[in-house]
Subunit: 335 residues, 4 copies
Amino acid sequence: MAAALCLRGAARSLLGRGRRQCAGRVSLAAVCSRSMASKTPVGFVGLGNMGNPMAKNLMKHGYPLIIYDVFPEACKDFQDVGQVMASPADVAEKADRIITMLPTSLNAIEVYTGPNGILRKVKKGSLLIDSSTIDPSVSKELAKEVEKMGALFMDAPVSGGVGAARAGNLTFMVGGPEQEFAAAKELLGCMGSNVVYCGAVGTGEAAKICNNMLLGISMIGTAEAMNLGIRLGLDPKLLAKILNMSSGRCWSSDTYNPVPGVMDGVPSANNYQGGFGTTLMAKDLGLAQASATSTKSPILLGGLTHQIYRMMCAKGYSQKDFSSVFQFLREDENF
Amino acid sequence: MAAALCLRGAARSLLGRGRRQCAGRVSLAAVCSRSMASKTPVGFVGLGNMGNPMAKNLMKHGYPLIIYDVFPEACKDFQDVGQVMASPADVAEKADRIITMLPTSLNAIEVYTGPNGILRKVKKGSLLIDSSTIDPSVSKELAKEVEKMGALFMDAPVSGGVGAARAGNLTFMVGGPEQEFAAAKELLGCMGSNVVYCGAVGTGEAAKICNNMLLGISMIGTAEAMNLGIRLGLDPKLLAKILNMSSGRCWSSDTYNPVPGVMDGVPSANNYQGGFGTTLMAKDLGLAQASATSTKSPILLGGLTHQIYRMMCAKGYSQKDFSSVFQFLREDENF
Amino acid sequence: MAAALCLRGAARSLLGRGRRQCAGRVSLAAVCSRSMASKTPVGFVGLGNMGNPMAKNLMKHGYPLIIYDVFPEACKDFQDVGQVMASPADVAEKADRIITMLPTSLNAIEVYTGPNGILRKVKKGSLLIDSSTIDPSVSKELAKEVEKMGALFMDAPVSGGVGAARAGNLTFMVGGPEQEFAAAKELLGCMGSNVVYCGAVGTGEAAKICNNMLLGISMIGTAEAMNLGIRLGLDPKLLAKILNMSSGRCWSSDTYNPVPGVMDGVPSANNYQGGFGTTLMAKDLGLAQASATSTKSPILLGGLTHQIYRMMCAKGYSQKDFSSVFQFLREDENF
Amino acid sequence: MAAALCLRGAARSLLGRGRRQCAGRVSLAAVCSRSMASKTPVGFVGLGNMGNPMAKNLMKHGYPLIIYDVFPEACKDFQDVGQVMASPADVAEKADRIITMLPTSLNAIEVYTGPNGILRKVKKGSLLIDSSTIDPSVSKELAKEVEKMGALFMDAPVSGGVGAARAGNLTFMVGGPEQEFAAAKELLGCMGSNVVYCGAVGTGEAAKICNNMLLGISMIGTAEAMNLGIRLGLDPKLLAKILNMSSGRCWSSDTYNPVPGVMDGVPSANNYQGGFGTTLMAKDLGLAQASATSTKSPILLGGLTHQIYRMMCAKGYSQKDFSSVFQFLREDENF
């Protein structure tokens, strides 16, 4: 593996040097060609709700795309502007930088290590970036398999939903070798406004999971506190104001308040439409739960929070924004 | 009761006029004496860890004190500068503005309605401000009893600990008739930098309880998320930074982080000494629990949070700052 | 008080001796008079769903009744056969053995210590038995007040619902001085098949509260385990059978299974009609919660269980049997 | 696969007929040889605390053993009486009935599908019984792989600890095709007194997981109820008696009471030594949690229970019996 990595390193430094020279010699033609056509193509696997606008932002920054999605219709936006491949393996044959954006750990395993997976035809020195939100231990396993092939894997899950994906201001939390972070940032910066280095491979996923667990907890906490206060006679707006200038302050209280009428422009102001679906929150908390179990970390509130969002999914809230937990806590007849 | 309120109203307006007249007759000497020494005395019952520095701040603002504490030694700081009385009733006989600062609902009931309580000798038109953290339904009951005597009750619990009490920058959350808020603020403003009107009587307590419940929840959430992230390989400082720029951000993560080494000047940096004791947090959550039960408000996370702090009290954490829940979650052998 | 208790003891021992003689000398007349008219009247306060059939069972055993209920219509079944009084005080004037059956702690406080309460006219040596389910600390307070009047108080809450009340096979859990247990059992045995001595005053309530907390927990546990097993492919009847011969066995699994189709003659077989309403379970868990807080006993599962039943009450399950938690856990669309 | 299954079916029916003939022709010699030597050898993989006594019980019933354990020393008890192989594959080469008893899902996957796993050399028609406690979805996956090789897989986890394994009175919960249950029972009946058919493959694991989840919940519930009752003044033995004749009754209260002094011969009577370790309970609840997540079944109490046992493991209780949760709830200073 050491040898493979050396080879890969050599390949990449050549490539890197090439790019740097390109940026160095400034003739008009060079500038044109760099911004128009000289960029080497980037592979993109997984063109769903999130992957689709992300890939388009890469294109806008001048990267030709080599794409694949398990559902052919997902590729139709790209038929004229990108090359649609028949498998992840074929993408890997044509592109040495690939981004994957997949719904679950199992999908990621299939796309990387399956019979037609990336690893079947990956080129040595390739940079593979997985932006899926998956179990960090799966990221680590994939990284090992990728390294065996002389390529490099980084995990880079995103924070921010479809809107942020379209606007190109996602946050990426990146795990992998620090010396390769700049190369990853070059691509990720085309799709997000914030690209944060988190540490060794898997820590990008870890950071996302920990953040979302805390988010899920403080949202329910905010909903419980607001509901209790209202029943004790407090005006919701005033209570929110008091919390926000006190030690109860949190993102769920000051930026995304779950009580209708307290803030504008948030899902609670729009019948909990849009935003971050309860089913996605439940999925992320499932990952937190699995990570907590495997690392033997007690998550008393995190575990209960997971179950509450599960209950909500079972009670018709799966498509609503997760702040609808406020509605879930209220009496049926009153709301 | 309407009649009683009318009487009380009449009494107060008479009294008020008296005070205003006093303020009206403007000789230079009078002005001097008003600002220096002519301020009418203020009663203060309960001179414990919090009450002691609060009372001293009132004195600094020129208010002569009429004081009582059930423990005589608590009054010794005031022997030369205030009048020490033998009972709350005696305080009420001498002062028509009284502040009470007591540990529990039962203490408050005793001090107001007990055989030697304030109500035995309260003057019509008196303003009684209770800064204790107690059950809002008790505040409402006390307010009713006080009104029967033609006086006025407001609840005004504080946020901020002994340090803030000394520095005079507590936050007061005030419940009671809005037209009397200015009168209360005149006194409370001597002891705090922030005096917030919350609504009808009991809403001051309600706001405090709701804030502290959310604080208790988000602190445990932060501790769980930080602990999980560390076990997944993240650097604690980096993880805190990521949470604080993301949707997991809360006061417990960005101002009072529970992980040793992440921030300076917080209890976690000082072996969880000082700060807000776990036993006090458990007490406030007990009040939240009782209020939730009586108003039939579900508090799934609030209830579990209450129990976790109770467990901590049973495990030797009662005197440590409540952020020591991070330590509680870690393995014995590692910490 | 010691003197008063002595007097009371003397009065009762006279009475007791009289009864024993009556039972000893067996002439036909004696038997008749014992069963027909010689029994001294018993007071009964609170003739609701439970109190009504309990009082009737006392009558069937030959006890003349002196009754009171705050709702006059509740007394109409007894108009011809018992004396309807205008207040608890009047009941106490006419009867030296009184049973109270009231919905809440506050009602009990009012009936005993209110302006027209039992204690206004209670006779020395009276035996007052409270079968309400209330806070054990309230029972202890009432016992103290009753003792001050030279009378005796015992707490004797019941297990078993309206059906058991009608059939006369309730279980009574009795707290109070052991030497008076026989006297209490004489009356309680007319209404229940099981009269258990639990210890000092308050322990009857304590036993009931602890039992119902454990019942509430194991019912939800059973519902969760059955639901999980069914989703994993197990037949519900077979799973119940396996649990019942294994270490998961509990009353909720083997006697009152919450899954429709597993057992006959239980609420789950009848759309969760009848049985023990969720709102009553939530009330009992509220008492458990308050007792746990005041004794600083951690109840992690008990606290969460309390909140789950509260949620159910808020979601339309308040009138259904508490085993409907199984239905609550299922997806809306499937059930 | 259909063809493979037909082949397997043919092979097995030949085998089965052989065995049945053996049992049919009753000469003295036949009986002798059947009970002494004619039994075909059985493979056994995994000779740890549980596997060791289980294998010995098979031997006592006359089955020659072909064994393997990853730790050679685990095989030394069997060196003279069984054949020790170098890998699971080698076991499969020599035995067409194999029992596996392994600690985790990962171990099971390795033993069956690894490079030297059973499936490398498994004979068509073989019967493979896995008594490990693992994720039911893993059992299903293994069953599919085994079927592809023309063999048969059943899951048969056990209830009962090392003592029951030695005494040969384990309970087996068996999942797999019903027509093969008799063949499995022939072997399992040598090691257990209770062999229960649960349904399709994976339902054995499901039944065990559901039972243990309910057990874990009701044990904590019992500990909380007993602790609360004791603090409210009840005698522990009396409280246990009351619970056991009431609706709070469960295996944890009547057979395995967690309070020292209530029962003899249980771990609580022996400083929580022996019994079922907290770490094993936490493991089983981790499986329940994973199954609940994958089937989207809410387990509010199950999830919290999981976390409580995790906390206990982190606090020095990992090797104690799981009923030590009672001790965990008590104050440090009192216990």
